[in-house]
């Protein structure tokens, strides 16, 4: 009864072009969680620790891919510039969560994992917000396509040496910088990666594909606020979007999804909404009432749904949940809460919904992937 009524309202509001408002009455979806899904060797010099999970996805064979911030981002001192490397790894697990392999060891552009998707052909796509790159790995683990170019150098200027000897406890933490802002070694001397036309990303966050294999990149949470479209060979086709809150504008695109009809759904984080475009980028509609969206996943069944995670605080410790949403923006139900315990979500940054009722959820503020079983 309630749902019917809401659905009617939703349809009416969409028809009139208005935005939906908060739907606090969405029913809770019962669920179980396997919060300790991933198993790695944590002993000795070859230990592997999963860190913040930028992205998780599963291929048709059941392999689970986790693009995670672990190890250390390094800065290497060089001639007048500083280069960054490391900080993220792509780990491969079997369907039971046992680590079986690693891909992309020591590649150039693994710095700060922000997303991972597996396409219908079982290619694995990593998205990195510091390298500002999207890399496609073939099912055998080789690199198939690189979009965007990593900035050559980072803006690190050395701090001044401590003022005099014995400059106080743990000296070296005070004192002015050695160079004035913009001086030697600063980013002003270092051009960011130029990339191929259309692929000069600034903190891209997500990738999606249509039935033709065209590639859509959410770009992103830097200041580009656009969606870039490429053909399946990586040739730039078009882009749309700018910074703002009007239709077709964004304040941080956190996630993309494409439905069977080719419509493009963009999670507009700062504007707390999802915008819907056609395949050419023409604005079609939007919906709110889904909180502050972090990530989305489009199911593949006859009736498609979006799973959309929400976090109302910066660390997912106070206000968070995941909701199941119809393509009209109607919230079907929601599950989970904020925090670090099982069945809580500390920044759910990635959802795999290959199976509509068995999700993989990767979190940033808690170093894990939860396997979620939704009860019907």
């Amino acid at each position: 009864m309630t749902r019917t009524f809401k659905g009617f309202v939703a349809a009416a509001m969409l028809a009139s072009g208005a935005s939906l408002t908060a739907q606090s009455g969405a029913p809770e979806i019962a669920f179980d969680s396997t919060a300790d899904l991933l198993k790695t060797n944590t002993d000795g010099p070859n230990a592997v620790f999963v860190g913040e999970v930028g992205g998780v996805g599963q291929d048709s064979r059941g392999r689970i891919f986790v693009y995670t911030r672990t190890g250390h981002p390094y800065a290497t001192l060089a001639d007048n510039r500083t280069f960054q490397r490391g900080g993220s790894r792509l780990l491969v697990f079997d369907r039971t969560g046992k680590m079986t392999a690693e891909w992309g060891q020591d590649v150039y552009g693994f710095n700060a994992a922000i997303g991972l998707r597996v396409d219908p052909q079982d290619n694995v796509w990593t998205i990195d917000e510091v390298a500002s790159q999207v890399v496609k790995f073939n099912p055998d683990g080789s690199v198939g396509l690189v979009l965007g170019r990593k900035p050559e150098a980072i803006g690190v200027r050395p701090a001044a040496p401590p003022a005099g000897r014995g400059g106080g406890p743990e000296a070296g933490r005070g004192g002015p910088p050695a160079f004035p802002p913009g001086g030697p070694g600063g980013r002003g001397n270092a051009l960011p990666g130029s990339g191929t036309p259309g692929s000069t990303f600034n903190r891209p966050t997500d990738v999606a594909w249509d039935k033709q294999g065209n590639i859509y990149i959410a770009d992103g949470i830097g200041n580009n606020n656009r969606i870039a479209k490429f053909d399946k060979e990586g040739r730039f086709i078009r882009q749309w979007g700018s910074t703002g809150s009007e239709n077709g504008q964004f304040r941080g695109i956190k996630s993309l999804a494409i439905d069977a009809a080719g419509n493009v759904y963009a999670a507009d984080h700062g504007n707390k909404r999802v915008q819907v475009f056609d395949a050419d980028g023409t604005y079609k509609s939007q919906f709110t009432g889904i909180g502050t969206p972090l990530t989305m996943c489009m199911t593949t069944g006859a009736t498609q749904y979006l799973y959309i995670s929400h976090s109302g605080d910066a660390d997912g410790m106070e206000d968070a949940y995941i909701q199941k949403v119809g393509l009209d923006g109607k919230v079907i139900g929601k599950f989970g809460s904020a925090g670090r315990l099982p069945k809580q979500f500390g920044l759910a940054n990635s959802i795999d919904c290959r199976n509509e009722n068995e999700l993989l959820v990767g979190e940033m503020a808690v170093w894990r992937v939860q396997k979620i079983a939704l009860k019907k």
């Binding site: 803006g155 410790m317 808690v366």
Partner: protein, 362 residues
């Protein structure tokens, strides 16, 4: 994440090589001060020679943290090529490395072992507490490593005070301890000036403190210990005092006469509560810059009753066995066996106290 992407500074910096603005330099923290306590009896002490034994190819760097578990194992958290956490057997033999390459290790600050023998690494480089099971699996983290994009945009930075006081993020937090209920206490730190309490599941309970020199104000709360009653002893280093708080973080007392407390420790271990009498140890450490002038007035460790009454002291600044430079953390599970982690000497020591022997004041 939200913080990062809403940061106009970040956006500008990434956008086009615009000049970054850095915070004005912090005034240099005052030099280490001489303890004001006088006529303190000396407690005879002796180091166990060459106690910690590393196999070939294993080295420790600056020893920042040291802690024992209930079985006598010893954990050293140190800054080498990487920040690393080593486990040693009760006889001082290297056993294994814990947590290698995890995302929470960048710049060691301290390590503590809780009542269940979980090992907590306190890392001021990642602003993260990492809780390991005795087997070395990560059970929980609190705090978050700064997003790399935000970190790059903020460089070079000085790690200076900022006072952001966020519930679930730290500003170079320094230590951790627990009460008998498992509540978690964190002194935070260099860039905040407060003490934070979480429940045993890491849920924020409350925080107290601002930067300053009054009661419930801190100038680099650098070390923290709890007693079996749940009282909290904060090494308020820059203010040259130990501040004592109750379990709800209300102010109780200041102990101002033992110099600048780099490290505090309450004997008896983390619990479960045992009937033994507890003592407070406070290290007036030689500065890590090791100025020659400081060596004569620092380097000693005080043994105190929990009410602040000084019982005695031991040690002095230096590099010889039994001397200290610079004690950064102590373990005193056994009140007569003190483990010291030292920055400048790249070592830890096992120190045996001989409290029964009478000694003359110096």
């Amino acid at each position: 994440m939200k913080r990062c992407f809403t940061s106009s500074l970040t956006a500008l910096a990434l956008a086009g090589g615009l000049a970054l603005v850095w915070a004005p330099a912090q005034p240099v923290v005052s030099a280490q001060s001489k303890a004001t306590a006088t006529n303190v009896p000396v407690i005879p002490h002796e180091p166990v020679p060459n106690f910690f034994k590393n196999p070939p190819g294993i080295y420790t760097g600056e020893n920042m943290g040291i802690a024992t578990d209930s079985k006598g194992n010893i954990y050293i958290y140190h800054r080498a090529y990487e920040t690393r956490l080593f486990q040693y057997a009760p006889n001082g033999t290297f056993v294994r490395e814990i947590g290698r390459g995890n995302y929470g290790f960048a710049f060691a600050h301290s390590v503590r072992v809780d009542a269940q023998d979980n090992i907590w690494a306190v890392d001021e480089g990642t602003d993260t507490l990492v809780k390991f099971s005795p087997e070395g699996k990560i059970l929980m983290t609190i705090g978050r490593r700064m997003d790399p994009v935000f970190a790059i945009a903020n460089m070079p930075g000085q790690g200076a005070f900022h006072g952001r006081n966020e519930k679930y993020r730290f500003g170079r937090q320094t230590d951790v301890a627990w009460d008998q209920q498992g509540n978690i206490f964190v002194p935070d730190g260099y860039s905040d000036g407060r003490v934070v309490k979480y429940d045993k599941n890491g849920r924020f309970v409350k925080a107290v403190g601002t930067r300053g020199s009054g009661n419930l104000q801190f100038n680099t709360p650098h070390s923290l210990a709890t007693d079996f009653q749940g009282n909290v002893y904060v090494g308020d280093r820059g203010n040259a005092r130990v501040q004592v708080l109750d379990n709800d973080l209300n102010w109780k007392a200041n102990y101002p006469n033992t110099g600048n407390p780099w490290a505090v420790c309450v004997s008896g271990g983390p619990g479960p509560k045992n009937p033994g009498k507890q003592y407070l140890y406070v290290s007036n450490s030689w500065q890590d810059s090791a100025p020659a002038a400081g060596a004569e007035i620092t380097g000693e460790v005080y043994k105190m009753e929990l009410d602040g009454t000084i019982i005695g002291k031991f040690g002095r600044a230096g590099k010889a066995p039994g001397e200290f430079a610079t004690i950064h953390q102590m373990d005193c599970r056994d009140p007569n066996t003190i483990y010291t982690a030292e920055i400048n000497n790249w070592r830890s020591q096992k120190i045996l106290l001989k409290p029964a022997a009478k000694s003359s004041a110096n």
